[in-house]
Subunit: 201 residues, 4 copies
């Protein structure tokens, strides 16, 4: 492997991203800003989150934020996306058991985070800002991954009829949980999950 070429353009590779001129962005700023954003989200929710506040808390100038994110929503999206300690899906050999374990984890997660208002905020923003729309879709897809994986395995095992559209299946499993969380305010607990699985599977 060739050592980094000092001449501006070695003809063959140039995989190295050609280093823009000028002082590079300080990675500590990124962390400080994202962390401050998450902290303030927990404390006051998306509605009470101001760029001024984040800047002050992160010990950073506002320009340093706007240099990185074009809008408050872009920042939010990256902030909540950044903590994606991706929940993972167990592989117990039974779809029902897989999902029960998975949703148990989800219940716990919801219990810790208070009434998350970030999602609704982003949903609204996505109505008007195409960029947010795209990022949100990406975020949702990422979150669905574990469920999709479990369903694919189950379909291969024959637990699910081959004709079933897995996309819809995901909606049927995840939709009710989100619906409770966002709209009805209903409890999201073990009995609810059991009944949900009883109906769907």
């Amino acid at each position: 492997m060739a050592p980094p070429a000092t001449s501006p353009a070695s003809p063959t590779n140039d995989v190295r991203p050609t280093r823009r001129p000028g002082r590079p962005r300080d990675a500590r700023c990124d962390h400080a800003i994202l962390q401050a954003t998450l902290d303030m989200l927990v404390e006051g929710g998306a509605a009470n989150l101001s760029i001024d506040g984040v800047a002050a808390r992160a010990g950073v100038g506002k320009a340093t934020i706007y240099r990185r994110w074009s809008s408050r929503e872009a920042l939010l999206l990256e902030a909540i996306g950044s903590d994606t300690t991706m929940m993972d899906m167990p592989d117990t050999g039974s779809l029902r058991t897989d999902l029960e374990v998975y949703f148990d984890g989800l219940i716990e997660r919801f219990a810790k985070s208070g009434g998350s208002d970030v999602l609704p905020h982003l949903i609204e923003a996505a109505c008007y800002d195409a960029e947010v729309r795209g990022s949100l879709d990406e975020y949702v897809a990422k979150r669905q991954t574990p469920v999709r994986t479990a369903l694919q395995r189950a379909q291969q095992r024959g637990e699910i009829a081959p004709g079933i559209d897995l996309k819809v299946m995901i909606d049927v499993l995840v939709g009710p949980v989100i619906y409770r969380r966002l709209l009805t305010g209903g409890r999201i607990d073990r009995p609810f999950i059991r009944k949900l699985l009883d109906i769907v599977l």
Copy 2:
């Protein structure tokens, strides 16, 4: 000349309906304000709706608005609640058919209204404002009524096992639709509804 009752008017007491002194509220203001609110919602969405704007458009002072609603969200909630031309549930004798017809109506309704961003806005507001939380729950419950009715009839007919929790059943039927609408951006059309019902019923 019966004076207009300003309170919900419990029938028994208060025969002389406590006509408050001073000039009575002008009902035309209510209409003008709600109409202006709906117009501006259509044009710019909840995010771009300002009380100043509504007041100017309705030809009304801001105080006249705040005299009636305590906050922007309260106004929004009433504005979108006011057009509840309650969708009704047919009674065909078959739950499956009932729901197919009902959801067909819903599809059409969604098609007309553009990307409704009011709901997410209210969801967010509900996280912080208890009053909004209550009103939103009420609104959601009202919207669920037709589905609940159909399910109750079906359970009485024996189409649904008596042990099934109808609340959860509603979540399973409505949740996926809402989930698509708000989060995944997936299509909400006849095939989707068919597959949904195939899985759930």
Copy 3:
């Protein structure tokens, strides 16, 4: 004198400024803002005077300032113009004596106010903002009034040749003082004034 007419436009007089609708401006705000401006001018000079600072000090919102003055300079101009405890010109019968007394007062005045940097600031602003230009001219003319008066009296008395252009005469009397104050930093004291008058008169 007719009592204030209540109908919007009594045809004849209408000297009363027809009272605009809505809440009237609060005169206390004007005072608070101007006073805060003057205080901050004394403390930090025109360069260190920010609208935010004035607003905070006056206990007033920024909008309340911008509602009254279109720019920082407009505010400054009115602030320094507002303290025009117009210096008055004595009438001793002798032009020389008149001016000596007058300039003595001016010396005292200059001694009290530190190095006034407001004037240069406004001069600069006047280069670009026509409105400021006009207001500044007005201000200067007002300041010249006493000297003009004395010169006119002297010309009528025959102390000054009739052919002399009094405008230029004013420039010759005031210009050197301003020049010292703004540019050379030379002392402005009794001996200087004496020598000045010796040369000019």
Copy 4:
């Protein structure tokens, strides 16, 4: 090959003029910066002149500017001082004639340069920055030199009484012109100069 002296170069010691190590400053940068400054002064005035703008226009980094001048005002001062194509005073044998010729040149000079706003800007800056104060005084003194010369010659010739304080005399001659230029906005033309000299001489 005598290396260019970077320090004022006291003549005796330091014959080897202490060439500092490292890359020497690029003289082209000085020119580019000063030129860009003058250009932007003409276009937008001192108020609209930003260091960022000068740097961009001169094709130079900001550090390269701050390495040479400590502040914006220092740069301005040198920029306007740099074009001191010192006006010179003729020696016609008559003070009156000398001054008429000199002021004619000044009129022309003023006519070319638009409303010079640099001077007021520096005057203001001088109120707070001692360094600017000093440089400004120096600048003013330099500008006064021709007039001082003419007056000294005239006093030696006996055209001016020996008791006259020439410093004041300069103020009386120059002050009115500056006063018109900066404050009253009055015309500065031949008739004005004639009247001025009529009064003073």
